[in-house]
């Protein structure tokens, strides 16, 4: 399966990645190669194979429902570019 330039631009936008115009064709080729590999794997008969959600053969451990995290707002907000009244400030997201 071959990806074209539009596909690559769309994927980059969805991932919020800025890519150079001159690199688009190379990305298209590389990503198409990955999809070709997936196509190759799709041809294997997996009728009796159960789906794999995780490569590790282990199950999720559970956490007791007890508060262990205290308020660390000051420390956690020290790295934020803008805060006010305890809120993180970001560029306005609604026009």
């Amino acid at each position: 399966m071959a990806l074209n330039r539009t596909d690559v631009e769309k994927i980059a936008h969805l991932a919020r990645l800025q890519i150079e115009e001159s690199d688009v064709q190379a990305y298209a080729d590389n990503l198409s190669n990955i999809l070709d590999l997936v196509d190759q794997m799709q041809s294997v008969d997996t009728t009796d194979v159960s789906p794999l959600a995780h490569p590790l053969d282990a199950v999720q451990r559970l956490r007791a429902d007890v508060v262990t995290e205290e308020n660390q707002r000051e420390a956690l907000q020290s790295a934020a570019p803008a805060v006010e009244n305890g809120l993180f400030l970001v560029p306005k997201v609604i026009e």
């Binding site: 969805l14 959600a53 956490r63 007890v66 707002r73 809120l87 306005k92």
Partner: protein
């Protein structure tokens, strides 16, 4: 041709855990902004989620309560989108292997019939934070306290055909999750939210019409209004030759209408994939069986028991069994008063009226169940009449105290002393000669009704305290004696 609406609902129930779904930060409501958002909730690099065992148990409780298939292996997936109140850039949810599979609930409709509504699935996911757009110039404030709060998203089949059915279904799910204690059900605080998928088609048609999804509805009444309005809008549009655009709409309660949300570019390209940070959740039959055995009595079972044990009507039993807090209150009143019918009337009457007027939850009622039961006991043993009991209730509601204390302090004890009542009856007859003459002149069959006037006078003289039965008996006796 007749139109038919097709409605499916997605309900988000916030699970009543102490901590977030993947972190040990508190989920308590109303804290200062960002004081309950830890490094995991903020998606700082190097953090990893660890799944909350209570969220799992609560989801399984819901699944067993609606007789659903429980996923013994369920998997978390990432739903990718960018928004500032979602720090990770994806919501951890369950798409392919949800914890709760197909189940069903039965709803009761106003014509007395019941209808079975399918639940497609219910899956675990995390809530996002809150964006505050109003307070800052060109900036949006972000509070991440809610980020990572566990949600159970309950998805129905498109089985509902009217706003009434939809509301009955939402109320049913609301009563189930609150009865299980897995959600506080507070719609105003957003603990229980509903998105409505609505489409219309000609009756008898197989294919569905294009549907719209209306979000942002936070009360039962608004759900009904929003769905009714949306059905009308779609029918009008189609009859005028238009087409329905598949889109997300917002309900505006002030204008009572839905309006289109500007469709976000490529908003639906969520690129789900299994979350590599979380392993599959595996549970066995023993776990599911233990959860099932631990379920409290559910509303349907309680309704049947109320009909059986207390001989209540289906309607009364339905109202009193929906919510555990109301059911518990009612049963305590019955225990104290020893009269189920009287208790049902008072709980659904005076008490509910006062709770509604004052917007008070039954758990915060100024008149406790034991005290209401104590009041009804005094009606039963003729210490006070039903009318005086309403006065006593008012005082108990306003100032607290037990019925006995109020009756004693205000001197409201019913007069049952025959001599005293007889005296009042004679006074009233002597003071109303004109009415007595009318009574005497009236045909015998009309006299019964005319006693009412004298009843009212005697009750007035006694300050409402005379025993009505005794007054009535003595009045008839004395008036009829005058006629001979």
């Amino acid at each position: 041709m007749e139109w038919e609406a097709v409605i499916g609902l997605e309900i988000h129930a916030q699970l009543a855990t102490n901590t977030k779904i993947f972190s040990g930060a508190s989920t308590a409501f109303g804290a200062e902004p960002n004081t309950q958002a830890c490094a995991v909730d903020l998606a700082l690099p190097g953090t990893l989620p660890v799944f909350n065992e209570s969220a799992l148990r609560m989801a399984v409780m819901f699944g067993t309560a609606i007789d659903a298939h429980i996923g013994k292996v369920s998997v978390f997936d990432r739903k990718n989108y960018f928004y500032p109140d979602l720090p990770k850039g994806y919501q951890t949810s369950q798409l392919f292997y949800p914890i709760v599979g197909e189940g069903h609930v039965d709803i009761e409709l106003s014509d007395g019939s019941t209808k079975r509504i399918g639940v497609t699935r219910a899956h675990l996911e995390e809530d996002a934070g809150k964006s505050l757009h109003e307070d800052f110039a060109n900036m949006t404030g972000i509070d991440l306290n809610r980020a990572g709060t566990p949600l159970l998203e309950i998805v129905s089949e498109p089985d509902m055909r009217s706003a009434e059915e939809a509301v009955a279904y939402v109320k049913k799910i609301h009563s189930i999750v609150t009865n299980l204690g897995i959600c506080d059900g507070n719609m105003a605080e957003g603990s229980f939210r509903c998105d409505c998928n609505v489409s219309v088609r000609y009756k008898g048609e197989e294919a569905f019409g294009n549907r719209t999804e209306t979000k942002n509805i936070n009360s039962f009444r608004f759900i009904e209004k929003a769905i009714k309005g949306e059905i009308e809008r779609q029918i009008d549009l189609l009859e005028d030759g238009g087409t329905i655009t598949q889109e997300t709409r917002l309900y505006d309660a002030d204008k009572d209408e839905t309006r289109s949300m500007r469709s976000k570019e490529e908003a639906n390209d969520y690129r789900y994939f299994p979350c590599p940070d979380l392993l599959p959740i595996v549970i066995d039959d023993d776990y599911i069986g233990a959860v099932r055995d631990s379920l409290p009595e559910m509303p349907d079972a309680r309704r049947a028991r109320f009909v059986e044990t207390y001989s209540l009507s289906e309607y009364d039993a339905g109202v009193l069994s929906n919510y555990k807090s109301l059911s518990d209150y009612f049963e305590t009143v019955v225990e104290q008063s020893g009269d189920a019918k009287l208790s049902a009337n008072w709980v659904m009457g005076e008490l509910s009226k006062h709770l509604n007027q004052n917007d008070t939850d039954i758990t915060a009622s100024p008149v406790s169940a034991a005290n209401l039961g104590g009041l009804l006991k005094r009606i039963k043993d003729n210490t006070i009449s039903g009318n005086i009991a309403k006065k006593v209730f008012e005082i108990m509601w306003a100032d607290g105290g037990t019925a006995d204390e109020v009756i004693e302090a205000k001197g409201l004890k019913q007069v049952t002393d025959t001599g005293a009542i007889e005296k009042m009856v004679e006074e009233v007859i002597a003071a109303n000669t004109a009415q007595v003459e009318q009574y005497k002149a009236a045909p015998v069959e009309k006299r019964g009704k005319m006693v009412g006037f004298f009843m009212g006078q005697v009750m007035k003289v006694s300050g409402g305290k005379a025993n009505p039965g005794q007054v009535q008996g003595l009045l008839k006796q004395k008036l009829d004696a005058l006629c001979d």
